[in-house]
Symmetry: C2
């Protein structure tokens, strides 16, 4: 739907603030983020930010909304061909096999933001929306694979929820333990899960 595109939902000023927030989060982490640091990245005054958002939390909730919209747009652009490739692409996007520095920092930032969802209902709604969006995207790819006859006739919701939980758990462990090899093992086991649950003749 055209009305759902980020271009229409987010005007230029807002988009610039969101991009500055992203850079500030990567540079300083969630714990050390401040309106000042976002303003520095934006090269504007704090007042310019407070014109758009009432508080840091208000801005971060908007940032999460922006991230979900962006994820939705990116995935819909980058998928649509082979369901096998599409599924692999979504998983690699969320849980890179060999994350580079930016991807690692982004995962830490997301875990930091998500910890706020325990006590802040506005954050919680955004993470509910994010998880929902990931599951819907995965379900659609699986359903397409079933319709095309490349996947077995499974329950797409069950498989999508399982993939989502495994990705979340791996990201979470990466940010909260020193078990570096565990993340790699899970990433491999996820491909193996998809092979045995979805692929015909596996």
């Amino acid at each position: 739907m055209a009305t759902d595109s980020p271009d229409e939902k987010w005007n230029t000023a807002e988009t610039e603030i969101m991009q500055a927030t992203y850079r500030a989060l990567l540079a300083h982490g969630y714990a050390d983020l401040s309106i000042s640091r976002i303003a520095d990245e934006l090269d504007k005054s704090k007042a310019a930010l407070y014109y758009h958002y009432d508080s840091k939390d208000d801005l971060l909730v908007a940032f999460l909304g922006f991230a979900v919209d962006r994820f939705e747009t990116t995935i819909s652009t980058e998928t649509g061909a082979d369901p096998n490739d599409d599924l692999e692409h979504v998983i690699e996007k969320l849980l890179p096999l060999r994350p580079d520095e930016e991807q690692r920092q982004l995962q830490e930032v997301m875990v930091g933001l998500r910890s706020q969802a325990m006590t802040n209902e506005a954050f919680r709604e955004q993470f509910t929306r994010l998880d929902e969006q990931i599951v819907i995207t995965t379900e659609e790819i699986i359903q397409r694979g079933i319709d095309d006859g490349v996947f077995r006739d499974v329950d797409p919701t069950r498989i999508a929820e399982h993939i989502q939980a495994t990705i979340n758990g791996t990201m979470y462990a990466r940010a909260t333990t020193n078990r570096e090899n565990a993340a790699a093992a899970t990433r491999v086991s996820l491909s193996s899960y998809i092979d045995s649950e979805l692929r015909r003749n596996a």
Copy 2:
């Protein structure tokens, strides 16, 4: 090993403090926990707690160590019969299908404590130890099942890491989103995963 038993590692005073901490965490949640509230549960003065622990964080790190020891002892007592039942038992312990109020609160408390592991190395070490312990326990059960001929000849580490990631991700989503049905779906998919990966003639 006898020297590893919680009884020898934790003296009576320490055990009472740990039990009071557990009750205080369930009653107030991680965010609102204080030394005063633990002291109230213990029916002693704050000074009595500071005699044993330098700070609230110091006490909570000890609490996590206590929880890991307790988990280890409980599981080794409650398992050892049929590998299928043992695996189901461990999963049900960590991720109850229908969590009661106390189990729900405990999960929230653990997610709250774990969020500290992002920035506090002592917390991180305890969660590394906890996850390691859960994976080792699961691996041992799977290996026993393979040796007994009830499970297929799989890589126990890969399956154990996958189960662990899925459990962590489900617990995490339960505490940070409003997707209530998602947790139930993942719990069911986990049983189905074990069926298809491990059980012969599945």
